[in-house]
């Protein structure tokens, strides 16, 4: 099974939950798809085994010996990435429109290393992750690469836990496609609910089965209730209500997963939620077998 943890809004507790699940799942393989701000390795620790440069984009390059300074490229570029026959690599989208209009073939597209993909071995199994160059493009492809590395190292039906990225854009789509189930981590705030709706719409559009949990539900019980009724309306099962728990912050500072603190109320709820998800998945597998007969 492949389970992705997403949130829409940033900072709702995706990585805390992903780290806890990694701890609980035993022999799973992990992927940190939040390539813009990867954090899971901070909690899981471990040692990097391999790091591979990642060519994530193309960038235009001008051959000054051929350039006649006609400025056609500057006029053709829609990203204001060319001025004075020099390419601004941060702005260049690698579309090649400049190369098409250049009458003397002075412009070519060259590969750009935009980050690296890393395999880290941790106490709790392998972690596939990436580090991006600052301001680099193409993070959707990088997510795909991180997930490809998972499949290279996955044995049989091994469980895959993916820590997703915030938002509803291309990195989120790349982490959602083809997974078996998505867990949305919501929070009881007006922004949390607005973002929850957007990311739930996206999951629905992509046809990914969805579950929801509410983190810090007791910080605003009224809004938690509102979030819950949205879930009921949309037939999305609510699988957990995690209480606000100062131990979560302490665990973070000690770089430990919250479930390493059995007395923590948040940990108890996360454990219960994990068991519920596994139960639902098994039930579904049975259903599938029955219906395919």
């Amino acid at each position: 099974m492949q389970l992705v943890i997403i949130s829409g809004k940033g900072g709702t507790g995706k990585t805390t939950i992903a780290a806890a699940f990694s701890w609980l799942a035993g022999t799973s393989i992990k992927a940190d798809c939040d390539v813009d701000a990867a954090n899971l390795h901070l909690l899981l620790g471990g040692k990097d085994q391999t790091a591979t440069p990642f060519i994530g984009a193309k960038v235009a390059q001008v051959n000054n010996e051929l350039c006649t300074e006609c400025d056609r490229c500057t006029m053709a570029c829609r990203y204001n990435a060319i001025s004075g026959h020099v390419i601004d690599e941060l702005r260049c989208e690698g579309c090649g429109a400049c190369a098409v209009v250049c009458p003397v073939q002075a412009i070519s597209l060259v590969d750009q290393v935009t980050g690296s993909t890393i395999i880290t071995s941790t106490d709790k199994g392998l972690l596939s992750r990436a580090e991006m160059e600052i301001g680099a493009e193409g993070s959707g492809k990088l997510v795909t690469e991180v997930r490809k590395n998972v499949h290279l190292h996955r044995t049989g039906d091994q469980m895959v836990i993916l820590d997703g990225s915030p938002g509803v854009g291309c990195t989120v789509m790349a982490s959602l496609t083809g997974v078996d189930v998505a867990l949305i981590v919501g929070e009881p705030t007006v922004s949390g609910i607005a973002d929850f709706k957007r990311v739930a719409d996206l999951a629905e559009q992509l046809g990914v089965p969805t579950l929801v949990c509410v983190n810090k539900y007791d910080l605003n019980p009224d809004l938690s209730e509102q979030l819950h009724s949205h879930c009921v309306q949309r037939n999305i099962p609510l699988v957990g209500r995690i209480p606000f728990d100062p131990l979560v912050n302490r665990a973070l500072h000690e770089l430990q997963p919250i479930v390493a603190y059995p007395a923590s109320p948040a940990a108890k709820e996360i454990v219960a939620m994990w068991e519920k998800i596994i139960g639902l998945v098994k039930e579904e597998a049975l259903d599938e077998n029955c219906s395919s007969k």
Binding site: K141, G178, N235
Partner: protein, 127 residues
Amino acid sequence: MRVCVSSTGPNAAAKVDSRFGRAPYLVFFDTEEQTYDFMENPGLGSAHGAGIAAAQEVVNQKAEVLVTGNLGPNAKAVLDAAGIAVYQTDGRTVSDELTAYKKGELLPLDRVSAPHTGLGQQQRRAR
């Protein structure tokens, strides 16, 4: 006639890759000449639209049949427009799949792999 198989490696003994757009190699087999062409899949290096790039290569290579595991909607649209028949792999080696195809043992892949269905009421209801 040319038959294309999505492959994990550049030889006939390699296993078929069930992915199409992101399979490392596309193998083209000529049934009259009994010859193989091994190409790197152009989809592999694409940030987006890998399936389209791979499908375009299959069209350009004038294959009439494709054997693979999963097909996205965009790739399917391209292959359909070119009238290329797609068959479902059983996950064996390239040469085994080609033999099975010649014997007429492979099933047509008519289902586009929508991201997996299942789990949760919302999908069940939709079925």
